[in-house]
Structure formats: structure tokens, C-alpha cells
């Protein structure tokens, strides 16, 4: 992959989205749509919000890896793209949930992003990886264990910041294995609120300067607080 950085020497905040696009995401929602439809709407809103923010626009970089879909595989759907060039596209839900494989692709491209940025002399903040799933990974036990181990190691080595979000129906104990930070559960189908939060959080991260404490916006608008 080659990206021409000469027109934008700003520091970057890379964020890779690991999205569950398995068959279960076709489940209908109470307002007549489907989960995958709500996810697609959320991604569209992410594009809008980032483009309304002049700093995030030139500093945030996105990549999308899907688990499932018509190919029934873990796929790099979108390689690193600056927010300014990002255009949301609809994802299709089908097949199983090779989430572990998708996470490993995520970790690989995170390291690739750092390499590319280093070579271009562009500085960057710690990359983010956000995992969103509504089900249970269908990787083999060995594959899943290896993926989780890699995630935990990358997190402990401060190589990447991992956020895990469970959508209704997700096996939260499996999701909890991915990161040392407890997973958050999406309230209903509040994908829109989730992606507005992500945009604001990435914006804050992309502005942060040495010594700053990164204050992320509240997750209350979309987080399910269960008993």
C-alpha cells in the first residue's frame, strides 16, 4: 500500500474497525430495520461527523475489517484511508463470524500503518482498534485463543488501544477475553450514538499533545447499563 503523505503532514490517529457482518446481523430490529442496516447508518454518520471536524478530517485514518459477509471470511474491506477521503459504503451480512481472524488482520494492518507513517516521517498517536460483534466467534478454539493472546500482548505492549462493543445477543464473556478493558454493551440499536461518540473520541485523540490526559466523551448515550 502506498499513500502520498506530501499533501498532509499532520500527525495521524489511525483507527481500525473490526465489524461482525455474520448472518445474525440480518436480525430485524424493533423499528423495522436490521442490525446490519443500523450499523451501516452508524458508519455513514461517522463519515459525516468526521468531515464536519476540521482537525479530525486531516488527522484521523480509518480501516475496516469484516468478519463474515457474503465471502464468509475475515476480509480487509477498506485499507487505511484518511478521513478526508473516507466514503461510507454499505456492508452486507451473511455467513459465520471468524472474528479472531479479523482481529489478527486488524493487528497486522495497525503495525503496517505505523511502518508507513514512520517511513513518511509523519508522527502518530496510539492506534485504536474497535471490535463490534453481536454473536459468538466461529474460529477454532486454537485460532480464537491465538487471536486473543495477540490482542492482549499488543495492548500490554501499548501497541494499540482496544475497545470492545457487544451488540444484543453477543457472548459477552467471549468479548471480554479480547481486552483488559471490560467490554461495553450497546443499548438497543444505538449505532448512530456509538459512531458519533467514536468520531468525537477520535477527534479528541487526534488533538492530544504530549502530557495531555485524553478525556473521552461519556459513553452514556449508547451504553447499556444492565443489572
Amino acid at each position: 500500500m502506498t499513500i502520498d503523505y506530501s499533501d498532509n503532514p499532520n500527525q495521524r490517529t489511525p483507527c481500525v474497525l473490526i465489524l461482525d457482518t455474520s448472518g445474525s446481523m440480518q436480525t430485524a430490529t424493533s423499528n423495522g430495520g436490521t442490525r446490519i442496516g443500523a450499523l451501516n447508518e452508524g458508519i455513514k454518520l461517522l463519515e459525516q461527523s468526521l468531515k464536519e471536524d476540521s482537525t479530525a478530517l486531516v488527522r484521523v485514518q480509518l480501516a475496516i475489517v469484516t468478519a463474515g459477509g457474503p465471502q464468509n471470511e475475515a476480509d480487509l474491506m477498506m485499507d487505511w484511508t484518511d478521513a478526508t477521503h473516507f466514503e461510507a459504503f454499505p456492508l452486507k451480512a451473511d455467513g459465520s463470524t471468524p472474528l479472531g481472524r479479523a482481529m489478527r488482520i486488524g493487528l497486522q494492518i495497525v503495525e503496517q500503518a505505523k511502518k508507513n507513517l514512520n517511513q513518511s516521517g509523519i508522527s502518530y498517536t496510539r492506534p485504536w482498534m474497535m471490535v463490534i460483534t453481536d454473536g459468538e466467534p466461529t474460529d477454532t478454539n486454537e485460532e480464537w485463543a491465538a487471536a486473543v493472546r495477540e490482542c492482549r500482548e499488543a495492548e500490554a505492549g501499548r501497541k494499540v488501544e482496544i475497545f470492545t462493543i457487544g451488540v444484543e445477543g453477543a457472548n459477552m464473556s467471549k468479548v471480554a477475553e479480547i481486552s483488559s478493558k471490560p467490554p461495553l454493551q450497546l443499548e438497543g440499536m444505538k449505532f448512530r450514538e456509538l459512531f458519533v461518540w467514536l468520531s468525537a473520541s477520535l477527534s479528541a485523540a487526534s488533538r492530544s499533545r504530549p502530557g495531555d490526559k485524553l478525556e473521552l466523551p461519556s459513553t452514556d448515550p449508547w451504553r447499556h447499563v444492565g443489572i
Partner: protein, 354 residues
């Protein structure tokens, strides 16, 4: 030596919005004999509770302790003891921070440190974390002011991620302490992270155009107005596009280079090259008055070597020729044998006995 200096600290737009105070601080000290100048600039971490107090305490205390070194240098040969002295002063400053913190945890006072001690014969920079120091020499001929293309610099040190840096208040501060010898310099710029973003680009290389116009602008007006000028540059509306952080810049210029002429032409001799002085491999001060750049040392060494070998081979040739001639002069048979060999009827020269 006399320096003209201008300085300003301006609060960042992000701190204005949140109502936090400016967390940059600096202090300038002169030695009693006026031959030495010590400066310390500190950038308190936005995440630290008492960042403002931390940066103020470190800047004031460190500059005052650093200027004491000038007395020692006057009486002692430069050497590794200078390292020890600097490290001791950092330890003393950390002790004072402990007193202020009422304990061993200095996190609430996180601050970076960029400092230097300078005389007519050079000096050195002391650096932990981000912020930067750079300087160079100037030639003035008639109306032309030429900035030498060699720029000496103590670069910012960030972690892998651009929003991370290192603080004097951290347990492993000594790993990040850099002591860099500096040759005598005619101009210097010193800044916190926010201030540096005016004169360094995203890859931390000097912004040639800014530096040139900055020096030209300031040296063409009265030095008493420098503080106000720098403050104006840092507060400009455009400046908020450069950085939303607190910003401090301190500028030094040799007073003997200032003339009354307003029509001077400013330029760099060539595109500037940054020389990373040798002691960027931290804590290796051997002399305070040498232009200790790896580049120039290597150049001088290789030039010296070529000269040495040339002289040696010349001497060798002369000795061989003299010996050969002497042998010929003393040995007639050999003389004739050589004549036969090169097919010439050589007569023994006068003075050779047969």
C-alpha cells in the same frame, strides 16, 4: 559577552477554552561576572494537577543552580565532572519538588526541561522531553547578514506516539537526560513544544523561512521591543492554527552583530543542515568549548590523516633516492652494471675511484 534577548509565553487556545492557566515557564540567569548565561524553559503536562507549579519551580530552581556551574568551570578544566554536576542539580531540583509534593510521587508536577549554559567559548544544552533548542553562527559583511547553514540543535524527544513525551519528574528521567555540547553561537532559539511548532516542521526540521524572517524582523527593531514582538507573533490569530498548546519562545542574538542599518539583506549561506552534536548520546560532556559535531570531527580527522600519509611517503622517497645515489657514488662497478643494463655507455663520474 553580551546577548540581546527577547522572550514570551502565551497561553494556548485549548487552555483558554478550559480556563486552565498557562503551564509553560522559563527563567534567565546571568553569572556575577556577566560572562555566562543560564536559561531554563519548562512545559508542564496538561494532565498533571499542579503542572503550572511544577514548571515554574523547575525553571526557576534549575536556572539558578545551573549558573553556579560557571564558577566551577572558571577554576577547572572541562571534563566528565560537568555531567555529574548537571545530574546533581537535577537531583537537587527533584528534591525540591518532593518537598513541594510532600512525598515521593511527583506525577502531579510533570514537566519537561530544556536549558542551556552559554559563554563566549561555547556551552551546552540540557534536555529532558520535548521542546527544543537550536542556534547557529552569523556573518555580517556590509549590508549582508548571512546565517551559517550549520544549525546546532537539541531535538524534542517524544515516545513512539506523538502525544507522549518524557518528564524530569519521572522515575527514569536519567534515561532521557541529554547533555549536548555547543560551540559559540551567535543566535539561539529556545522553545517549549508549542513554541517549537513555529520554527520546527512536523519532522522537527528547522523552518528556514520562519527563522530567517523572525531574526530579520527582530534584529531590525530595538531589542527592548523584542518581548512585545515575540508575544505578538505567538498571539497572532494564525498562530492558533499552528498549535492550540501553550507556547514559549526565547530568542538570543549577539549584540556586536547588531548595527544601525535598517536595509540589511538576510539569508542563509546554504540550505540549513542540522548537526546533531555528539553528546546526543546523552551524558557525554568532555569539553564545553568545542564544536563537537561528529560530522566536523570526522572531516578534520580524515583531512589530517591524508596530510600525514602524504608527508610520510614523501620523506620515504627522499631517503630512498639519497641512499641510491650514495651507493652509486661509492660503487663504480654497480654504476657501470646499471649502464650496461639500460644499454648506455656510462662513464664513471668524476670523483669515483676505480
Amino acid at each position: 559577552m553580551t546577548w540581546l534577548l527577547g522572550s514570551a509565553s502565551v497561553i494556548g487556545s485549548s487552555h483558554q477554552v478550559t480556563g486552565t492557566p498557562c503551564q509553560d515557564a522559563f527563567d534567565i540567569e546571568h553569572s556575577a561576572d556577566g560572562k555566562w548565561l543560564a536559561v531554563a524553559v519548562c512545559d508542564g503536562a496538561g494532565s498533571a494537577k499542579y503542572a503550572e507549579a511544577g514548571s515554574n519551580l523547575v525553571a526557576k530552581t534549575f536556572a539558578k543552580k545551573l549558573i553556579l556551574l560557571s564558577n566551577e568551570i572558571a577554576n577547572r578544566q572541562p571534563g566528565a565532572w560537568i555531567n555529574d554536576f548537571v545530574i546533581q542539580q537535577v537531583l537537587n531540583v527533584r528534591d525540591e519538588l518532593r518537598t513541594a509534593a510532600g512525598g515521593d510521587d511527583l506525577r502531579d508536577f510533570h514537566t519537561t526541561l530544556v536549558a542551556f549554559l552559554m559563554s563566549d567559548n561555547g556551552g551546552f544544552a540540557i534536555h529532558i522531553g520535548d521542546g527544543s533548542l537550536l542556534g547557529g553562527k552569523v556573518k555580517v559583511e556590509k549590508n549582508n547578514v548571512t546565517l551559517d547553514d550549520e544549525i546546532f540543535m537539541s531535538k524534542p524527544e517524544n515516545g513512539e506516539y506523538s502525544n507522549e513525551t518524557f518528564f524530569i519528574t519521572e522515575g527514569d528521567w536519567v534515561k532521557h537526560l541529554r547533555i549536548t555540547p555547543l560551540p559559540p553561537l551567535d543566535w539561539m532559539l529556545l522553545g517549549t513544544d508549542g513554541g517549537s511548532s513555529f520554527y520546527l516542521d512536523y519532522a522537527n526540521n528547522p523552518k528556514q523561512e520562519f527563522i530567517l524572517s523572525f531574526i530579520e524582523h527582530l534584529t531590525k527593531c530595538d531589542a527592548q521591543e523584542w518581548n512585545a514582538h515575540i508575544e505578538r507573533i505567538l498571539s497572532d490569530e494564525q498562530a492558533n492554527k499552528v498549535t492550540n498548546d501553550d507556547k514559549t519562545i526565547i530568542f538570543f542574538f549577539r549584540d556586536h552583530l547588531i548595527f544601525d542599518k535598517k536595509d540589511r539583506q538576510f539569508s542563509f549561506s546554504k540550505d540549513p543542515v542540522v548537526l546533531m552534536p555528539k553528546a546526543q548520546q546523552r551524558t557525554e560532556v568532555t569539553a564545553t568549548n568545542q564544536p563537537n559535531t561528529t560530522k566536523s570531527i570526522k572531516k578534520i580527522k580524515s583531512k589530517k590523516n591524508i596530510k600525514k600519509w602524504f608527508l610520510l611517503s614523501l620523506l620515504f622517497l627522499v631517503i630512498v633516492s639519497i641512499t641510491f645515489l650514495a651507493v652509486l657514488y661509492l660503487d663504480h662497478d654497480l654504476y657501470e652494471a646499471i649502464g650496461k643494463f639500460i644499454k648506455l655507455d656510462l662513464k664513471a663520474p668524476i670523483g669515483i675511484s676505480t
